[in-house]
């Protein structure tokens, strides 16, 4: 409890008081605070617990790289685990809880693990927990899983909304610090479309928390002026609270705009977050540099933080980390830290500079040179520091700086590697060409003047230059310091994962010498900050341990996402019922009127059955079948794919597509067609009709409509471009209904205009263009899937509901019923027609009993490969009918077939049941099956083995056509 709110200063609005709670305790803060700064202002330095040892932790940073101060924010369905307190803008009513601790943050039982920390070194779990074997899943792993993890995710649906958006620009500038502002300004002044995005709530980058002087003004005032100019230009889009999180092919950037994360609840119709894809002709990465910690004992005690973070809390938030502060660094930033803190009224005890020869203005703060901080005393807060010469210095907070790492992440997302600069002690970004340049400290420009000039140059990119303002530079001098090895306490490299400096030599010693192996073995860099703070230190320690250079060790792979992205943002509005679009047929309204129960079929909603008086699906479907077979039924078949094919070579084209021939089909007739893939396997089936010499209309199965269309386009454009043919999908342009049953003709006769329907005018497989209901254009096909005397009537989609109603009215005297896909399926199984269960992508025409359709007289897709021995083997599984020996038995789809007396085994497996139905005509369950050499086995009794559902019944193999084998009804 040593941090406190300063009397003055900061970009907070001290007149606005905001209430919030942390772990149930009420606090207040100000507008402009983050949760982290507000907690510190209330004396709360302890904010979290580490992953493995449950060490007490406070903030290390003031930004996106924060590994320690992670909290569960909000409640209920809005609860978010692992939210960085340093990035949470304070709002009135905010609630947050600490995580990964039990029973409380202050007293965490999990911390006992640190007692055994000498055993829990890197990779310890690979060496133990193996005995006894059964203990892993039952004992060890559940314990590990409970102890691991960080926050707890909600199990309630997220009530907030998310949006997706796209932006195109000439220049995307990522980061709004000095370099980013100059880059944006340079491009914007020459009229380019500029997007300036920054993860911060407020634009200005480091100028918001560093005391700078530019053009004789404070850095803050200068930034405000530039931003005002940018805001006034119509070609500039300013995007605060927007994190560019990934760079992808085509110079496409992913970004997340936190539209409403700074309020308790978004306004109605407002999204919580907006996901952007930004397509940029050019981009300038001006993300700045991340300060590095130093590895020394207790470098994780709450109150130890990065020097820049301490400046940020003092300058931007008016918060001091402690009443007396020490500074420890290997570079000049120690001095500006001391000066800034002193100027804000914070007592600075001492600067410990690891270098002997540094000289900079310490504003009177004593400087100890050539020494290091070896250890920090205190557990839940700093009480003092030990130096390598044994000196103890009392203090309440420690600012540390191990140097600066340019934030090159985005520049490496497409596989490029950064390279080490020995003088800057930093990995610099790769050259990605003119489309994506890096400016400012992200490119290793460590002085403000360099940043301004570099930003201006990269933004202009050879265009009209802009004047670079004058400024005062802070020094940047640095000497290597990664790990203070005299330390007694644990020196952390990856704070969150509790990976220590000693873990890396251990990994090297055990053979995990490659940086990727060391990462995986020690978990360094695998925490939620993805190594932003610790990786460079880890690489340096590994380099030293293995006698290699920094470049030889190299970095691990920088991968998206720069900071973690919510699932919600990526999903946008495509969730819940809006996950995929809904396709409704033109007869949907009619089907609803008829009381249809709909079923998802791909994207379609198809009418499945039409229950009456509380019928279940089986009762309803059975009644529909009986009514259809005894009278007449009407079924919506609009989902079948319909493709209109026209042109001189339409017939020749269809001959290529189908294994049977269509060029010989007479005008006014339909023919069943079978389409193969080029590998000889059946692809699709359906009837195709010839309406004129150069005009066909194809039908496809519902499932394959889009795929067949794509296949046709490929065949025509890539294989047979010489054919004079055009084709277009008309699936949605036509409403199509099957009218089936002995009374179908009489029913349709009542609405057909001026045509006497009989076997001469409309014979089986006729395809006629007619009108109905006094002029509605229609196509009438005498086709049957049900095996009944039947028709399919197609009318333009908008007439669909009206015509279907008229058919129902016409059929009323015959007891017409609407029937759904369940009844359709029963009737096709009764008739042994193959469908999706049999057209499963592995069956040949022969397997389906359709081998005779395959032409030997022409080239077509799939002809040659269908002749391979494996596809001609007589022992292949082919379609048969199956019915239970005992008619009261039920067979189920997916059951396998075994010879009568065989024991179950894969070697004995003879095939499986592909489709089943309760046949109201036969009063029993019947099915179709794929059975090895099945056509030769009609009459054989087999086991129908359904071990999965604990069933085994005897079944008799039969012809697939279970009902009306002579097709008498078809021609009745």
């Amino acid at each position: 409890m040593s941090s406190y709110r300063l009397d003055k200063g900061g970009l907070i609005d001290r007149t606005t008081e905001l209430s919030f709670s942390f772990d149930g305790k009420p606090f207040t803060g100000h507008a402009g605070d983050t949760l982290a700064s507000a907690l510190m202002a209330n004396g709360m330095t302890l904010m979290g617990r580490s992953f493995k040892y449950h060490r007490p932790r406070g903030v290390i940073t003031a930004g996106a790289a924060e590994p320690n101060a992670l909290v569960e924010l909000r409640e209920g369905g809005r609860k978010e685990a692992n939210t960085r307190a340093t990035m949470i803008e304070l709002y009135d009513g905010l609630t947050a809880r600490s995580q990964n601790r039990w029973p409380s943050l202050n007293f965490d039982v999990g911390a006992v693990t640190s007692l055994a920390s000498s055993i829990f070194v890197a990779g310890f779990y690979y060496k133990t927990f193996m005995w006894p074997k059964s203990f892993w899943e039952k004992i060890y792993e559940p314990l590990i899983r409970r102890a691991a993890g960080l926050g707890t995710a909600s199990r309630l649906p997220d009530p907030d909304k998310y949006e997706k958006a796209y932006a195109h620009c000439d220049l995307l500038v990522i980061g709004s610090g000095p370099a980013g502002l100059m880059a944006a300004l340079a491009a914007a002044r020459s009229g380019q479309r500029v997007v300036l995005a920054d993860e911060g709530a407020r634009l200005g980058g480091s100028l918001l928390h560093e005391r700078e002087e530019i053009d004789g003004k404070s850095g803050l005032d200068w930034a405000a002026g530039v931003l005002a100019e940018l805001a006034s230009l119509p070609t500039v889009t300013l995007m605060p609270r927007t994190t560019v999180m990934g760079w992808f092919d085509g110079n496409i950037f992913g970004a997340v705009e936190r539209v409403n994360d700074h309020v308790a609840v978004p306004d109605p119709y407002e999204p919580r977050q907006r996901y952007w894809r930004i397509i940029a002709k050019r981009a300038v990465l001006a993300a700045g540099a991340e300060e590095r910690p130093v590895a020394f004992g207790g470098n994780d005690v709450p109150g130890v933080m990065l020097a820049s973070a301490m400046r940020s809390y003092a300058n931007r938030y008016g918060v001091a980390a402690g009443r007396s502060v020490a500074v420890f660094a290997n570079n000049d930033s120690a001095y500006r830290t001391a000066r800034d803190l002193k100027a804000q009224g914070v007592h600075v005890e001492v600067i410990v500079d690891s270098r002997m020869d540094a000289s900079a203005d310490s504003a009177g703060v004593p400087v100890i040179r050539g020494q290091q901080v070896t250890d920090v005393s205190g557990r839940k807060g700093v009480t003092g520091i030990e130096l390598s010469n044994g000196t103890h210095i009392d203090c309440e907070a420690l600012a540390m700086s191990g140097g600066w790492s340019p934030i090159v992440n985005l520049a490496c997302h497409r596989g490029q590697k950064p390279h080490w600069d020995k003088s800057l002690l930093a990995f610099l970004p790769p050259d990605n060409g003119p489309g994506f340049t890096v400016a400012g400290s992200a490119a290793g420009k460590m002085l403000l003047s360099e940043c301004l000039a570099d930003g201006a140059a990269k933004g202009a990119a050879g265009g009209k230059p802009v004047a670079v303002p004058n400024c005062r530079d802070e020094g940047f001098a640095i000497a290597p310091l990664w790990w203070v090895k005299e330390s007694h306490g644990k020196a952390f490299i990856d704070y969150q994962n509790d990976a220590t400096a000693k873990d890396l030599p251990l990994a090297a010693r055990e053979g995990y010498r490659d940086v990727e192996l060391a990462k995986r073995y020690t978990t360094t860099g695998m925490a939620t900050d993805q190594g932003k703070l610790g990786n460079i230190n880890a690489i340096a320690i590994l380099a030293e341990a293995t006698g290699r250079s920094m470049d030889e060790v190299g970095t691990t792979t920088f991968r998206p996402f720069y900071t973690p992205v919510s699932f919600g943002a990526f999903a946008g509005p495509f969730t819940g019922h809006h996950f995929q679009p809904v396709r409704k047929t033109p007869l949907h309204e009619w089907a609803e009127e008829q009381g249809a129960v709909f079923v998802e079929t791909g994207l379609w909603m198809r009418s499945s059955w039409f229950p009456q008086d509380g019928e279940d699906w089986l009762a309803s479907a059975s009644r529909e079948v009986l009514a259809t077979r005894n009278g007449v039924g009407i079924c919506d078949v609009s989902t079948l794919g319909k493709i209109d094919v026209q042109g001189k070579d339409a017939g020749a084209f269809l001959d290529k597509l189908y294994c049977n021939t269509f060029s010989t089909l007479a005008v006014g007739k339909a023919r069943y067609g079978l389409m193969l893939r080029e590998d000889g396997i059946v692809y699709d089936d359906g009837t195709t009709s010839r309406l004129a010499d150069d005009h066909y209309v194809m039908t496809t199965t519902t499932a394959n409509a889009a795929k067949v269309m794509a296949q046709m386009e490929f065949a025509h454009q890539a294989l047979f471009p010489e054919l004079d043919v055009t084709y277009v999908s008309v699936t949605e342009q036509w409403a199509q209904m099957a009218v089936a049953g002995p009374k179908s003709r009489a029913t349709l006769q009542k609405i057909v205009d001026g045509l006497e329907l009989n076997d001469q005018t409309a014979p089986y497989m006729a395809a006629l263009e007619i009108t109905v209901m006094g002029g509605v254009p229609a196509r009438l096909f005498r086709l049957s899937f049900s095996g009944e005397h039947a028709y399919e009537l197609a009318v333009p989609a908008d007439y669909g509901n009206m015509v279907a109603r008229a058919v129902c009215q016409a059929g009323e005297e015959f007891g017409i019923v609407p029937y759904g896909v369940e009844a359709l399926s029963i009737m096709r199984i009764e008739k042994g027609h193959v469908a999706g269960g049999e057209l499963n992508g592995t069956t040949t025409a022969g397997d389906l009993g359709l081998g005779k359709m395959v032409s030997a007289k022409k080239d077509f897709i799939g002809r040659m490969m269908a002749q391979r021995e494996g596809l001609m083997d007589p022992n292949r599984q082919c379609v048969v009918g199956i019915r239970p020996v005992d008619p009261t038995d039920r067979i189920r789809s997916g059951a396998h077939l075994l010879k009568r007396d065989d024991t179950p085994s894969m070697a004995n497996d003879q095939g499986y049941v592909t489709s089943v139905a309760w046949s109201p005509m036969l009063d029993m369950w019947i099915g179709l099956a794929l059975l090895a050499n099945g056509r030769a086995r009609h009459g054989e009794v087999v086991q129908v083995w359904d071990g999965l559902r604990g069933a085994r019944v005897m079944g008799e193999i039969c012809d697939p056509m279970h009902f009306d084998k002579e097709n008498k009804r078809l021609h009745a």
């Binding site: 590998d679 794509a710 490929f714 454009q717 002749q867």
Partner: protein, 94 residues
């Protein structure tokens, strides 16, 4: 990734469906002796690391089949022509 469709201009990759190696050529004979050619056509694929001609269907756009030339390692897209033109050019070369 962005694909320059000759008809629609530069469009995002999700509008396209890819079918792989465009160098394959469908044999023009059904003679039994051509089985090996057919096997090659249906099953064997150029699969280089680097420059690659591939079939891409602008399924979410003009529905043209294209041949896109692209680097499979860097994903740099060099250009695209219609499959119709590519096939005709291939025929002319053959």
């Amino acid at each position: 990734m962005l694909i320059p469709c000759p008809h629609c201009g530069t469009r995002p990759v999700e509008e396209f469906t890819f079918l792989g190696d465009a160098s394959v050529t469908r044999p023009t004979t059904n003679d039994p002796s051509s089985m090996e050619q057919w096997y090659d056509y249906v099953y064997l694929r150029n699969n280089p690391r680097g420059r690659f001609d591939e079939y891409a269907h602008h399924s979410g756009g003009c529905r043209s089949w294209l041949v896109v030339t692209r680097n499979t390692e860097t994903h740099e897209v060099y250009g695209a022509v219609t499959a119709r033109d590519y096939t005709r050019a291939k025929g002319a070369r053959a």
